[in-house]
Symmetry: D3
Subunit: 168 residues, 6 copies
C-alpha cells in the first residue's frame, strides 16, 4: 500500500495546500496530512485549532486522514509507515530548502520525498501573507483563498467584533 505523508504548519491551511492534497490523493492509496509545530514563529492558530480545521477541510476525501505532530517528520513517517513524503512546490525559493530537507530525511531514514507543483491559480498563496491580512482584520477578502472551515474560523477570531480585531 502506498502511503503519503504531507507535513506542514498549515497556519492556516489554504487552497494551495488543498490542491496538493487533492493531487496526492489521486496517486496514493492513503494520504496523511499532519500539522506540525513550527518553532520560532508566532502561530495564527494553535496546533489544536489547526488540527481541527484540517479534519473539517479534508472530510470530502475517502483516503485522506489528518492529525497533528510535535516531533521530527521522519519519526512520524516511520510511525504511520509512510512510503513517501509529499510536498508542494510553488517557487524557486521553496525548492532549495526542500531539496536539502529531502536529502537529509533520506539520509536519516531512507524515506523518499516526491514534489507536486502548485497549480498556477494558487501559486501565489503563502500562509505568511494570509496571516498578515488576518491580523490586519481583512478576513472577508481571504474567504476565496481558504476552504470554508478556515474562512469561518478566521472570521470568528480575527473578523469584525472579535477580540483580536485590530490588534496587530
Amino acid at each position: 500500500m502506498k502511503v503519503a505523508l504531507i507535513p506542514g504548519s498549515f497556519d492556516p491551511f489554504h487552497n494551495g495546500h488543498l490542491a496538493v492534497v487533492r493531487l496526492a490523493a489521486r496517486h496514493f492509496d492513503k494520504v496523511v496530512v499532519a500539522a506540525v509545530r513550527n518553532p520560532g514563529k508566532e502561530p495564527l492558530f494553535s496546533l489544536e485549532d489547526r488540527e481541527l480545521m484540517l479534519k473539517e477541510c479534508l472530510e470530502e476525501f475517502d483516503n485522506v486522514t489528518s492529525r497533528s505532530f510535535s516531533g521530527l517528520v521522519v519519526e512520524l513517517a516511520g510511525e504511520i509507515r509512510a512510503t513517501a513524503i509529499v510536498k508542494g512546490l510553488r517557487a524557486v525559493s521553496d525548492l532549495e530548502n526542500e531539496l536539502q530537507m529531502a536529502q537529509m530525511n533520506y539520509r536519516m531514514s531512507g524515506i523518499d520525498t516526491l514534489f507536486v507543483p502548485a497549480t498556477s491559480s494558487e501559486s501565489f498563496l503563502a500562509s505568511k501573507y494570509l496571516k498578515e491580512f488576518a491580523r490586519g482584520g481583512r478576513v472577508a477578502e481571504l474567504a476565496s483563498m481558504v476552504p470554508p472551515p478556515v474562512a469561518r474560523r478566521l472570521q470568528e477570531i480575527y473578523g469584525p467584533g472579535s477580540d483580536k480585531e485590530g490588534s496587530s
Copy 2:
C-alpha cells in the same frame, strides 16, 4: 492623476531606495514614500526617526511626499488613492516574495504593483548589511551609500563618541 505608493521599512533609507524614488518620480504625477513598521525585526531607527529622515532625503523632489504608516499597505494605498504600488527589484530572491505579495494585494484590493530594477551600482545595497555595519560602529564608510541626512543621523547615533558605540 497617477499616484505611486512606495512602501518600505527604510531602516535606513539608502541610495538604492533613492534610485527607486527618482525613477518613480519620472513616471508618476505624484509619489508617496511610506515608512512602515516591520514587526519581528529589531529596528536601527524608530519609525519616527525614519519618517524624519525620509522627509529630509526627499526634499529635492517636487512631486514626492513621505510619511509613516502602521497598518496594511493596501489600506494606505486606498487612503491616499494610489493608482499603483511601486517596488524596487534588486535580485531574484526579492522577486518571489514580491510576486506573491503583489498578487495578494491585487486580490485584496484590486491595486496593481509595478516593479523597477535596481540600478547596477546600487544593487548590492541591503538595509540588513547597513544595519550590521552601523551597529559595528563603521558609520564613516557608510556615508557613500546613504543620502546625507541618513549619514548624519548614523554618525550621531552610532558614530564615535555616541552612546551606542561598540554596543553590538
Copy 3:
C-alpha cells in the same frame, strides 16, 4: 504624455501577454505593442502574421496600438517617444535577463524599464510550449490560452485539415 512600449516576439501572443497590456493600459496614456524579430528561433508565425493578430487582439483598447519592428528596441522607443519600456515578469529566470537588458537599454539611451507581474492564472504560459503543442497539432486545447484571433489562426494553419498538420 506617458507612453509605454511593450516589445516582444509574440509568437504567438497569448493571454499572459494580454494581461500585461491590460495592466499597462491602466497606467499609461498610450501603449504601443511591437512584435519584433527574434533571430535564431524558427518562428511559428511570420512577423506580418504576428502584427496582424496583434491588431485584432488589441482592438478592445482605446489607448493601445500595435506594430512590428526589425531594429533595436531602444531605437523604436526613441522613434515613438516612449517614456518607458514595459515588460511582464513571470518567473525568476526571466528576471536576470530582463534586469541586464534594462540596464543596457538605460545605458544606451536613458530609457527606463518597468516590470509588471504575470497574473497567477497565466503565469505558466510561455510561447515556446504553445509552439510545441501547435506544431504537434493540438490547437483545440490551446484556445483557452490565447485570444480568439490567435486561436482562429492557429486552427487555420496548424489545425486538422491544414497543410502543416502533423508535420512536426
Copy 4:
C-alpha cells in the same frame, strides 16, 4: 494500477537519470522510460541508439520498460495509460521550465506531473557536459558517471581509435 511515464532525451542516459528511475520504480506499479526527440539540438547518439542503451541500462528492473517516441509527451502518456509523468529536479533552473511544462500538460490532457529530487551525489550531472567531454574524446573518465552499457557505447564511438576521435 499506477503507471509513471519518465520522458527525456537521454543523450546520453546517465547515473542521475538512473536514480530517478530507481526512485519511481519504488512508488509506481509500472514505469515507462521514453527517449524522445529533442529538435534543435545536435544529438550525441541517434534515437535508435538511445533506445537500445535504455533497454540495456534498465534490465535490472522488473517493473520498468523503455521505448522511444517522436510526438508530444501527453500523447504518449495517453497511449500507455500513464497515471503520472515523473521528472527529476536537479536545480532551480530546471524547476521553472518544469513547472510551466507541468501546467501545460495538465491543461492539455489532465495528467499530473510529480517531481523527484536528484540525489546529491549525482546532482551535478547534466547531459550537455557529458556530451562535451565525449566529443572531446575524454570517454574513460565518464565511465563512473553513466551505466555500463552507455560507457561501452561511448568508448566505441568516441573513444581512442574510433572514427570520431578528436573530431569535435
Copy 5:
C-alpha cells in the same frame, strides 16, 4: 603571503564546511577559520564549544588555524592581515546574500571575497537541518555528516542519556 579568512557560525561545523577548508588550504599559504556570533539565532553550541571543536576538526592541516570572533568580519580580516575572505557556495539562495555581503565588505575595507563550490556529495548539508535533528535526539545518524569531534560532542550533549534528550 596569501591568507584566507573563512568566517561562519559553524553551529555545528560539518563535512561541507570541511570541504571548503580543504579546498582553501590548497590555494592559500595560510587559512584562518573563525567561528563568529550569529545574533538572532538560538545556537546549538556555545561560541566556546564551537571554537574548541573547530580546533579538533582542523588538526590535520598544517596551514590552517582556527579561532572565534565577535565583531565585524572585515575587522577580523584586517587584524589577521587576510588577503581574501573565502566562502562556500552551495546553492542559488546562498549566492545573492553572499554577493551583497562581498560587495559591502569590499566597499568597507577593500577586501576581496572568493567563492568555492560545495562538493556535490555535501551540497545538501546545512547547519539548520543538522540542528533540528540534533534537537530531536537523532545524533547517531548525523555521525556521517560531521567530523568525528563534532559527532562526539553531539552525542554527549544531545544523545541518549544526555540532559537535553527529547527536549526540543
Copy 6:
C-alpha cells in the same frame, strides 16, 4: 606557484571580464586568460581577433598572459599547469551552470574552480547584449563598457562607414 586559468569566449571581452582578471591577478602568481571557441553561437569576432584584443587589453598586467584554445578547458589547464580555474559570477543563472561545470572539471581532472563576484557596477554586462547592440550599429555607446582596444575594433568593424553597418 599559484596559476589561475580564466577561460571564456570573450566575444567581446568587456569591463566585467576585466574586473575578474584584475581580481585574480591580486590573488595568483600568474593568470592565463584564454579565449575558447563557443560552438553553436555565431561569433561577433573571430577567435584570432579575440586573442589579439585580449593581448592589447591585458598589457597593463605584469602577471597576466593571454591566448586562444580550441579543446577542452581541463586540457588547457593541464597544459599550462594551472592550479585553479577562475570564473566570474554575475547572477544566479550563471551559478547553476558553473557549479555543474566545476564538478565535472573536478571529476575529470582534479582541478578546482574558484569564483569571484562581478563588481556591482559591471554586473549587468553580458556579451550577448553587447553583440546585439554592435550588430545594430550602436558602437559609440558601447565604448564605456569595454576596454579601449575592443572599443576601437568594434568601431572599425561595426561602426558608421564599416562594411557591416546596418547589416543585422
